[in-house]
Structures are given as C-alpha cells and as structure tokens.
Amino acid sequence: MKDKIIIENLHLKYSDGTESLLDINMRIIEKKITALIGPAGGGKSTLLRVFNRLNDLADVAQVSGKVLIDGINVLDPDLDVIALRRKVGIVFSRPLPLPLSIYQNVSYGLEVAGEKRKNVLDKEVERALQLAQLWDEVNDRLQDPAASLSGGQQQRLCLARTLALRPEIIMMDEPTSALDPISTLKIEDSMSELKKDYTIIIAPHNIQQAARVADRVAFFLQGKLIEYDLTSKIYTNPQDPRTQDYITGKFG
C-alpha cells in the first residue's frame, strides 16, 4: 500500500481565528477511501481545501508544516496550483452546477485546460457521465441547462465534472448532505467503483456513511486529529474515549 498523501506537522489558522488545524500528522493511502469524521468546525473541510489549495481563496493567516502529495509539498508557494487542482478534484456539499449546459459543466475543466478538439471533449464528457452513473439519464439532453436537473442528478453532474479531468485524488465534502437516500446510494455506489482507480477522501455527512464506504476513518475534534485507523477498528474498538463517545452518539 502506497502513501498518496503524507501530512507532517500541519498547522493552519484563519485570520478571523475560526476553525484551524493543529499539528496534523497523517498518511492517506492510495486507491482507498479515507473518511474524515467529527463534529462541525473540527477542521475536515479546511484539511480538504489544503490538498487542492482552495484555501488560497479564503482568508488564511498562517500555514506551516508539510503536505506531500506524491512527494511534492503542495504548500510550496511556487507550486503550479492549476496543475494541482487538476490532480486533486473536489465535490462540494451542495450541488453547485455552473450556469451552463450539462455538457459544458463536464467539459469546463477540460476546456480551461486548453482542450479544444470536439471529438475528444465528446468522448471525455460521455466517459465522465458514465462513471458518475448519469449518462443514461441525460444523454438525450446534454445541451439543457444543468439547473434543469434534480438535486441528486446535479450532484452526480458535479462528480462527473471532477472526473472529466482524470484526477488522481477525489475529495468529497459532505457530498450527499443535500440529497435524498436514493441519490445518496447512487453516489456511494459510484465511490466503491471509483476507488479502483482513484484515491478518495470523503468528509461524510454522518458517521453511518463513513462506516458504509470508508476503508479508513480519521476522527477530528476541534482542529486535532484524535484517532486514525481502519474503519472496523474505529467502530468496534476505538482507542480514545472521545472517539468512542462520538461514534456512539454521546456528542456531535
């Protein structure tokens, strides 16, 4: 098992003092599903936004430590963040389709990367929509606005949009929190299919989802990594009493 991401002594602080990360050390394994669990404000979303430097858009006061993806420190200010973001895709908690057609939503990332060949775009759009299990529902109306899709379809579109770039890591920040159980199931199905080729990091919107999909679970509390282990261990034999309390529902 190869480490895809190695985090060493990561500290992060926002300038308004909210949600921060304190001395995170963690290794995320390639082609597995890693779940980040814990109550809101624990640092899960922040950590995800470190991996693709989306925090550059937020008001981050200071970051220190190292985050190595395939041995390259992504915190390096000289890093090619555009290339990083193509390699590390993200699906957000709300379906956020761009105000474009279904097709354009999926081709967007490829087009901004400079891909202009129509036949390549067509092929990649179909491939991504197939992977996200959306192709059969939309292949006859690719030019319709993405907003015309249902919430569950929109979220699968967002997954397809990320997959179109053929990333190596897919992050999902509470990807099903706005979805009904059927749509949730479809997304979870896709995940187990996708982990053959992709490293997946998910911040699930409840602990049951982590139990269903994840190979490993990391428990975050107030910016600290409390416990990180195989899913079965976390759920049956947690080492830290706080983990125990959280997964048994005493708080959270």
């Binding site: 858009l57 957000f92 956020l96 901004v112 993405a146």
Partner: protein, 286 residues
Amino acid sequence: MRLRFHNPRLTEKIGTIFVTLVALSAVLPILAIVVYIVYQGSPAINWEFVSAMPRNGMHEGGILPAIVGTLYLTVGTAIFSVPVGVAAAIYLSEYAVDNALTRNIRLAIINLAGIPSVVYGLFGLGLFVIFLNFGTSILAASLTLSIMTLPVIISTTEEALRAVPQSFRVVSTSLGATKWQTIRRLVLPQALPGILTGVVLGLERAAGETAPILFTGAAFFLPRLPNSPFDATMALPYHLYVISTQVPGMPIQIQYGTVMVLMMFVLFMNLIVTFIRSRARARRQW
C-alpha cells in the same frame, strides 16, 4: 386576563392604498412631461426635420447635424468609457485587495460622480482642447463625456460583478481555471445584464449633457455633417439650449420637436438594452 387583539385588516388596507397612491404619484410627472412634449413637439416631426440641414437661421429645415453629432458623441463616449470602466470594475471587484489604495480609488470614484458637469467641461477644455491640442472637437468632447460617465459605469459594473455568486468562482477555481478564465467564462457573462444597464445609464446621461460639450466640441451652428473626429459638431442638447435661449423668434414646435428627438434617441437606447437584458436573463440559471 383577556387578551385584546388589535384588528390589523383596516390598517393593512389603508397602508396598501397609501403606498399605491404614492407610487402612482411618482409616475405622474414623467407622464405629464412626455405627454406635454409629444403634444407640443409632434407637429414639427416629419422626414425633413430629421433628415435635413437647418436653414434660415435654424428657423426652418431639419436638425440632422445635431442628431448625427449626438450619435457620434455617444458612440465616442462608449468607445472610451466602456472598456476603461468595465476593466476598472473588474479590477476592483475581482483583483483588488482591501487596502488603503483601493479604498481611496473607490472614494475617488464616488467623488467623481458628484462633480457638477460644468466642471468636467472646464477640465476637458483645459486638458483635451488646449493642453493636448485636440481643439474643440468630437474627440475632445467624447473624452470629456467619458470621464463624466466612468463613475456610473464603474460602480454599476462592480455591483453586477459582485452579485455573481461566489460559489461559481470557487467551483471554477477547483476545476483548474485561472482567475481570468473564471472571469471571462463565468463571471462576465453572468454579470452582463447588470453591466449593460450601467453602461446605458451612463451613456444616456452623456447623450443628454450640455455643459461638458459646451467648451469642448459643440458648435452653435454648423450646417454640415462632421467629417473627422477633430471636427466640432452640433449636438441635440446644446442645439436645444441655443434655439431656446439664443435665437429670437424660434417656433416652439421646433424646440419641442428637438426635445422629442432627443427623448426618442434615449428611449431607443433603452429599448435595445432592455431587449439584450431580457435575452440574457432568460439564459440565466440562478
């Protein structure tokens, strides 16, 4: 204790009637002005009036040079003020960080909007006509009108850009788009209706202004069409001033006819933009 409820249905009714009446009263002056101008001006409107040169000391003939002049000035103003204004707004909304410099730029823009138009006229005379030696010309007048129009375009465009949801920018960035790609592909198309509104508001004001062109490009009487940007020109608002106050014995129909043409010019600009905006809105999906 027995609770005593006040019955709000009557006050609701009175309130509704009151705000409706006040809203109507705001429309009344506009209606009155339009009706009066059409009533007084329409007898003067015919093909000759909009297509011929003025004759007999402007008492007869048409106002073609003034119409064409105002068209040139408006287009000239658009050429200078729209790119600069939109670019400035993009900078302020998308690139500028909040520091003393950008706060001062914003303050300057707000102050620019409050300067009386005759001051722009004098400034244009000093800078463009004399110092840069453009002479009293369409070029100098357009540049002067541009400076006057800029604050309107900048502030409305900035508003329109800020109204585009931040989430689109985050998503676009996460898909590997650069800032400029995000602006060009997502933010600008979404903000277009709002930007157009601002542009037209600004240009309409420019088309109707007299003071800024008074010293910089407007001609009292020039019965031919301008043939270069360095030519002076007649223009509708200044022509109106001239025939209303400077020429004795001017038939009232010609004065109101000129007003009507100016109004129709502005109305036409409004219609075009309303059309473009409604088409853009129909495509908008948030």
